[in-house]
């Protein structure tokens, strides 16, 4: 085995024993697991918000209407999911799960009694509905404006009954507001609503009272229902026909479309395409972490060898170039191992994704050779570029502390692609993105960033040439600095001094007269 590879092998084996390496390997699967289960856990762990309503409207019509409407929305939502269920078994299971969670005084149960419908069997077995029931159902569904379910889901995060539950208090005495405030203080309820005597006229005397001023979801959810109901009433008072009313209520929307990549025809944008456009952000971020971690490893490692006085022993056996190359290769291999482990865990991870996440086509994105190939290739390019800088910095410093001041400009440079990340993803082939792409230190990150575009082929060719040329220059400079710096002790040199080394002919400073090859 050549001496370079011996050095590389040692670096690799040693790094495998460090915490940084295993943290690097494990961080990503943990992140994925969190992404899959964590959000659901967080959503599940949110307490059901209990609220009371003090309704002064005639016959409490508004609060009743809101309950009914929320119930309809929930049923609609249930129907939506139930009709999408694979088979009878799953359907029954779903329905029973929900139903068993409901108490007798739950709006759905009340609705069951009120509307005289067997909601349970109705939901469970949609085909067996009677004509009248079907009519009722379609009426409900029609009442739900298109996209409302999604909207509702956004406001309430799934079924409203999972999140909000109205509490009835029978005897609130002469001063109900004061009584409710006490309940609020005792944390019996999360909030209470006050509805004025004539909601149709104005919302002047209405109020939402809660001690939590940051979580406004409940207020928005209730208000959105109340608004719809009040608006319905107002429209009705105008004696408009149903058509006119619907027309007034209708929104003006734009369908999101783009050109098909193959046929060039205009088509609707699919959900997974939207996500695909954003995917580079995740890749750039991971790329950044990987490049940064590996380059940092190289720096610490070089300084460790220097401060441990190992350099001279090593140089009595290997040449400085063999040492430098060995270190860069060994740590590069460590980084590549981490990156490949991420790719593999991502590929495994998507197999376990289900439901909505799976529909978004993550599998397709993650296993897309464009992204995967770019990721691995740009990791190598980015690592090598920064490795050249950090190995040179490491060679002239005796301690990490000394390295810090020299590292600062590198850090500042490294942060730019992170800042630009979101802008570039929004405009992957724009002027700013193009401009940044051709600054060699940013090229790997920017090309990854623009992968959603994707950039035209000539840009891939141009940046590949740019990267190769930059690498050659960077390593030529790094080698010059390394040869002098690695045996230096004492104060690290100033940047101006390092530049002088680069200009000086070989042999002028403490350098080797001739190159050696393995």
């Amino acid at each position: 085995m050549s001496k370079t590879m011996l050095v590389a092998q040692r670096e690799f084996m040693e790094n495998m024993r460090t915490k940084t390496f295993w943290l690097g390997i494990l961080s990503f699967p943990i992140l994925i697991v969190f992404a899959i289960f964590g959000q659901k856990l967080l959503a599940d762990s949110k307490d059901v918000r209990k609220y009371a309503v003090l309704d002064r409207s005639e016959g409490q019509w508004l609060s009743r209407a809101v309950s009914a409407r929320a119930t309809q929305a929930d049923i609609g939502k249930l129907l939506e999911e139930v009709t999408e269920a694979k088979d009878e078994d799953e359907r029954t299971k779903l329905v029973q799960k929900w139903w068993s969670a409901l108490t007798e005084d739950h709006p759905l149960r009340i609705a069951e009694r009120q509307f005289g419908l067997d909601i349970l069997s109705m939901i469970a077995n949609p085909p067996e509905l009677s004509d009248q029931q079907k009519q009722q159902m379609s009426k409900w569904r029609d009442q739900l404006a298109p996209g409302q379910i999604e909207e509702l889901a956004k406001v309430a995060g799934g079924l409203s009954l999972d999140d909000y539950r109205q509490v009835q208090f029978d005897d609130l005495g002469d001063d109900p507001e004061k009584a409710l405030s006490e309940k609020l203080n005792d944390e019996k309820i999360f909030a209470y609503f006050v509805i004025g005597p004539d909601p149709e006229e104005s919302d002047e005397t209405s109020a939402y009272v809660s001690n939590n001023i940051t979580d406004n979801e409940l207020r928005k959810w209730y208000a959105s229902h109340a608004t719809e109901i009040v608006r319905d009433r107002r429209i009705k008072n105008l004696n408009l026909s149903a058509e006119d009313a619907a027309s007034i209520r209708g929104r003006y929307e734009f369908a999101q479309q783009n050109l098909d990549g193959e046929t060039g025809e205009v088509k609707d944008v699919e959900d997974k395409e939207k996500l695909g456009g954003l995917a580079p952000i995740a890749f750039v971020y991971l790329l950044w972490i990987a490049v940064f971690t590996a380059a940092q490893m190289l720096l610490t490692n070089t300084i460790e060898e220097k401060s441990n006085r190992l350099i001279e022993v090593l140089l009595s056996s290997v040449s400085p170039m063999q040492l430098m190359a060995g270190k860069v290769i060994g740590i590069g291999a460590t980084g590549l191992t981490i990156v490949l482990s991420w790719v593999i865990s991502a590929l495994i991870g998507v197999q376990f994704m289900s439901g909505k996440i799976a529909e978004l086509g993550l599998t397709a994105i993650i296993s897309d050779p464009l992204y995967l190939g770019s990721f691995v290739a740009y990791f190598l390019a980015g690592y090598l570029l920064y490795a050249a800088f950090l190995v040179a910095i490491g060679s002239v410093c005796d301690s990490l502390k000394e390295a810090q001041s020299l590292m600062q400009p590198v850090f500042i440079i490294l942060i730019v692609p992170l800042i630009a990340m979101v802008f570039v993803v929004q405009d992957p082939n724009g002027t700013v993105a193009r401009f940044l792409t051709y600054i060699p230190l940013f090229t790997p990150f920017l090309m990854m960033n623009r992968a959603g575009g994707p950039p035209p082929t000539w840009e891939y060719v141009a940046t590949t040439i740019l990267i190769i040329v930059s690498l050659a220059i960077a390593f030529w400079a790094a080698a010059k600095v390394f040869r002098v710096g690695i045996l230096m002790t004492g104060k690290p040199p100033k940047v101006s001094e390092i530049l002088r080394w680069l200009r000086a002919p070989v042999g002028q400073v403490a350098e080797r007269k001739q190159e050696t090859t393995d």
């Binding site: 040693e14 022993v313 140089l315 009595s316 056996s317 290997v318 400073v509 403490a510 050696t516």
Partner: protein
Amino acid sequence: MEHALTLSHVTKRFGSFTAVDDLSLNIPTGSIYGFIGPNGAGKTTTIRMVMSIFYPDAGEITVLGNSQPEAVKDRLGYLPEEKGLYKTMRLGEIVAYFGKLKGMNSGEAKRKAIDLLERYGLGEWIDKKCQALSKGMGQKVQLLGTLIHDPELVILDEPFSGLDPVNMELMRDTILSMKKEGRTVIFSTHVMKQAEEICDYIFMIHKSKKVLDGTLAEVKSTHERGIQVDYDGDGAVFHELQSQGLVDRVNDAGKTCEMFPTDGTDPQQILKKLVERISIRRFDLRDPSLHEIFVRAVGGEVVDA
């Protein structure tokens, strides 16, 4: 005579500073060669050139008969003055690693490392990490890393510094046994006593130039003899002798003192003066100590040793 190392008119400059100036040196195979000289004189630069860490700006270096020192790097062993170990590596691994870097194959290096560690009393430490070692043990491990590939020429820079008497003896025995095996040993030291004890040849460099080179006896014979006294009492008397013009150099170590009579001074006269003031255990006239030669060579300057 066959030479393990030959330097002829070697010069090395760093910018405007000349670190080694026109140095010529012949080191016979199988000898122990002591490099002495004040700090910054050029010892380490010379050694680094032999190890092809640096390349000379002018002159020729022939190592083990090869004028390309690079080509025989694997047959040399070098223990630098500043020695270190990878803290997280295990003893067995690191010694074997140094062997592999010198071209040994993996299995052979591993076997030899274990064998050496056991022989040097570090058997139970083979699987321990280097960070657990004391300084002396660390130095032993570094020495083993230097010797694992049975180098023909070994260069030891300050091998004795920081060693306790037991390990110092071990180091000395190691050096002597290498000589017996026909290897050549170059070692640098600041402790003149050690150099006197084991070196066949002494080489001294000062201000980038060679000032002494030859066998110990040769080096000493070129200098006048001095008086050595072992004594108890107040050493102020020596300086009085000096101010009276009887002796011109005094190296008083507290219990022993070396001095050099001025021309025409009778040693008997000095002895007479001394017995009045201090109790003398030994008084003799002999070759000057290496210490004295060293100090004279650097021109009596204060040496930062």
